[in-house]
C-alpha cells in the first residue's frame, strides 16, 4: 500500500529526499511543514532583524535540502536543522554591519498584522538585552522546545553549560521584567 508523506518519520523523509529526486519535492514539503515554525522562531528571535531573519531562514532550508544528498543517516532532524540555522545565523552575525540603515527607521521589526500581548512585547525587547549565548539557549529551550541535552548538541557544548546559560538567561529576563511581573503577581 502506498504510504503518504505525512505518515513517514523525519528520518525516512530525509533519506527519501536524498535518494529519489522524483519524491524529493514532496518529502521536502512535508519536512518543511513540520519544522519550519521552530526554525523561523529561532532565526527571528536570534537575529532580531526581520529581513536578516528571513534570509537566514531561507538559507537554512536551502542548505538542509542540499545536505540530503550527502548525509547518510539522520537521527534528529529538528536538531540538525537548528544546527544549520545556528551556523547560518552566526555567520550572518559575524558579517553584520554595525550601522543602522535608513529603512530600519521606517520598518517595524515585526509584522504589525499580529497582535502581541504586552508581556510578549516586553520579553522580545528584553531578549535583545540578553547576551547571545544565554539568549540562544533560552530560545532553543522556550521557542524550539529542545531538551537540555539537545541544546548541548546543537550548541556543541556541555549540559552543565546549557543549564548555566538557561538559568542566567531566565534570571536576566526576570530582572528586566521585574516591574511588570511584580504587577502580574499582584493580580
Amino acid at each position: 500500500m502506498k504510504r503518504i508523506y505525512s505518515d513517514m518519520s523525519d528520518d525516512e523523509l530525509f533519506g527519501l529526499m536524498g535518494q529519489d529526486s522524483h519524491k524529493a519535492e514532496g518529502c521536502f514539503a512535508e519536512l518543511y511543514a513540520r519544522h519550519s515554525p521552530r526554525v523561523n522562531a529561532y532565526c527571528k528571535r536570534i537575529m532580531g532583524d526581520r529581513m536578516a531573519a528571513q534570509d537566514a531562514f531561507q538559507e537554512t532550508f536551502t542548505k538542509f535540502f542540499k545536505s540530503a544528498s550527502q548525509e547518510r543517516n539522520m537521527t534528529n532532524t529538528p536538531a540538525f536543522l537548528l544546527r544549520i540555522a545556528r551556523n547560518v545565523c552566526l555567520n550572518m552575525k559575524r558579517g553584520e554591519k554595525k550601522t543602522v540603515e535608513i529603512e530600519d527607521f521606517h520598518l517595524p521589526s515585526e509584522s504589525p498584522a499580529y497582535e502581541k500581548s504586552e508581556l510578549l512585547k516586553l520579553i522580545m525587547s528584553a531578549l535583545e538585552l540578553v547576551p547571545f549565548d544565554y539568549r540562544e539557549a533560552f530560545v532553543l529551550r522556550e521557542y524550539d522546545g529542545l531538551s537540555y541535552q539537545e541544546i548541548a548538541e546543537v550548541t556543541e557544548t556541555t549540559m552543565a553549560t546549557v543549564k548555566i546559560r538557561i538559568f542566567r538567561a531566565k534570571d536576566k529576563l526576570r530582572q528586566i521584567l521585574a516591574p511588570y511581573l511584580h504587577d502580574l503577581n499582584k493580580v
Binding site: 521536502f28 515554525p37 502581541k116 520579553i123 537540555y148 511581573l181 502580574l184
Partner: protein
C-alpha cells in the same frame, strides 16, 4: 552531584529536567514559600506568552514561496487547512462543495418549478382568454374584414389603418417605437397572438426589428391585449425570452493580503467559474455556479502545544446558488445591462458568499461580455476554530443565452 538553588531547581522542574528524587523537596518548599510560588507563576507566565508568539512560529507566505522557488519547487499552496489537519479527513471538505451544489441546484429547481409557473400563470390565463375571444370575434366578423396579405407593408400601408399602433418587439424586451405614442391603440393580429403562444420564431426574433402584422386579417385594440402589454411588460417573454444561459468567467483577484509571489502560483484553470442559469424574466435569474478559485488563508493552530499561524494561498473548488438581478438594457449607452449577483454556497473548506456587480455588453444576439467587481467572504475551520477570509477582485467573462 550538582547543587542548585531553589530557583534553579524550579527552572529545571518547569523544563522537565529536575530528577524525580528532588521533586519532593521542591514541592515542600513551594508549599511554604510565597516567593517561590510567585517565581513559578512568573516562569509560567513567560512561557505562556512565548507560546502565543505566533509571529515567531509563522513563516510568511512570501518566505515559504522564496524557499520553494529557490529550490525550483512549487510552493505548497494547494494544501487546504483541513488537508493539513489529517489526510484521513480529506473527504470532509468535499462535503461542503457537494452540499453547496445540492442546495444550489435544489433551490434553482424549486424556483423553476414553482416561482416561474406562479409568476406567469395569470398572464397565461389572460392570454388564453384573449386568444379565445379573438378567435370567436374573428369567426363572426370574417366577411367584413379586408383580406390584405402583404408581407411587408410600406409605411403608408400602416398609416392607412386608423387604429394601428406598430409594436416593436425587441429580443428580451417589449417597447413601442420611438416615433409613436405608446398610448395609442395597439395593432396585433389574431394569428400573431396565436403564434406567439406557440413559437418564438413567428414573432420577432431579431434585434431592433419592427414586427409588422400585415398578413393578418384583423385588428385588435389595446383593450384586447393582456395587461402585460399595457404595462410594457414582456408579454412575449413566455415564449421568446431566452430562458437558459451560461456564463464562463475568470477572476482577477485583489486579495485582502496582497502577496505577489503567492499569487503567481495561481494560474490557468485555478481561477475559472462556470454558471448555468435560468431567467425568470428580463430582470431576474437564478442558477448554479461551480468553479475553482484561490483564497488567501491566514489561520492559526496548535502544533506540539504551541500556537502556530499559517499563511497560504490555496485554489479550491467551490459551488453554490446564484441569484441575479438585472436592469433593462440602457439603449442610450451601447445597450449595456447592469447586473448584480449574489452567490451562496460552499468551497472545499467552508461556506462562502459573494456579491458582485457588473455589466453585460452585448456582442451579438446571444453573447454578451461580462465585467464587474466582486467581494467574497469565506468561513472555514481549522482545529475546531473558525476563521474567515475575504477578497475583492474584478471579474470578466462571457454570458451566453440559449
Amino acid at each position: 552531584m550538582e547543587e542548585f538553588t531553589l530557583s534553579e531547581k524550579l527552572i529545571l522542574y518547569l523544563d522537565g529536567e529536575l530528577p524525580q528524587e528532588q521533586e519532593l523537596e521542591l514541592f515542600t518548599r513551594l508549599a511554604s514559600s510565597a516567593d517561590l510560588r510567585a517565581e513559578m507563576r512568573e516562569g509560567l507566565a513567560i512561557r505562556a506568552a512565548i507560546g502565543g508568539d505566533i509571529d515567531a512560529f509563522t513563516p510568511s507566505a512570501a518566505q515559504t514561496s522564496a524557499v520553494f522557488s529557490g529550490l525550483g519547487f512549487t510552493p505548497p499552496y494547494q494544501q487546504t487547512p483541513s488537508q493539513k489537519t489529517s489526510s484521513r479527513y480529506m473527504w470532509l471538505p468535499l462535503l461542503w462543495l457537494l452540499g453547496g451544489l445540492c442546495v444550489g441546484g435544489g433551490l434553482a429547481f424549486w424556483f423553476t418549478q414553482n416561482l416561474l409557473n406562479q409568476e406567469f400563470a395569470d398572464e397565461k390565463r389572460e392570454l388564453n382568454k384573449t386568444i379565445a375571444q379573438l378567435q370567436s370575434e374573428k369567426n363572426r366578423q370574417k366577411p367584413a374584414v379586408m383580406s390584405s396579405m402583404a408581407i411587408e407593408p410600406s409605411e403608408s400601408a400602416i398609416t392607412e389603418k386608423p387604429l394601428v399602433k406598430t409594436v416593436i418587439v425587441y429580443r428580451d424586451r417589449f417597447i413601442a417605437p420611438a416615433n409613436q405614442n405608446p398610448d395609442t391603440a395597439i395593432s396585433a393580429k389574431t394569428d400573431d397572438i396565436n403564434t406567439q403562444s406557440q413559437s418564438a420564431e413567428n414573432i420577432s426574433t431579431a434585434h431592433n426589428q419592427q414586427v409588422y402584422n400585415s398578413k393578418d386579417d384583423m385588428m385588435i385594440t389595446s383593450r384586447n391585449l393582456p395587461s402585460s402589454v399595457h404595462n410594457n411588460q414582456p408579454m412575449i417573454s413566455m415564449s421568446l425570452f431566452p430562458k437558459f444561459w451560461t456564463q464562463i468567467r475568470g477572476i482577477g483577484t485583489v486579495s485582502q493580503y496582497p502577496n505577489i509571489s503567492a499569487n503567481s502560483a495561481i494560474t490557468g484553470l485555478s481561477n475559472v467559474n462556470v454558471a448555468l442559469g435560468y431567467s425568470f424574466n428580463p430582470n431576474l435569474a437564478a442558477g448554479i455556479e461551480i468553479g475553482r478559485e484561490p483564497f488567501m488563508l491566514k489561520y492559526s493552530g496548535t502544533v506540539n502545544g504551541r500556537t502556530v499561524r499559517y499563511e497560504q494561498q490555496s485554489s479550491m473548488l467551490l459551488g453554490g446558488l446564484i441569484v441575479q438581478a438585472r436592469t433593462n438594457p440602457i439603449e442610450s449607452f451601447m445597450d449595456i445591462q447592469p447586473v448584480g449577483t449574489l452567490f451562496l454556497g460552499g468551497s472545499e473548506i467552508g461556506m462562502m458568499g459573494r456579491v458582485s456587480s457588473g455589466i453585460y455588453y452585448p456582442l451579438s444576439a446571444n453573447v454578451s461580455f461580462y465585467g464587474g467587481l466582486e467581494y467574497s467572504l469565506m468561513n472555514f475551520t481549522y482545529q475546531s476554530n473558525s476563521f474567515t477570509t475575504q477578497k475583492v477582485g474584478f471579474t470578466y467573462g462571457l454570458h451566453i443565452t440559449f
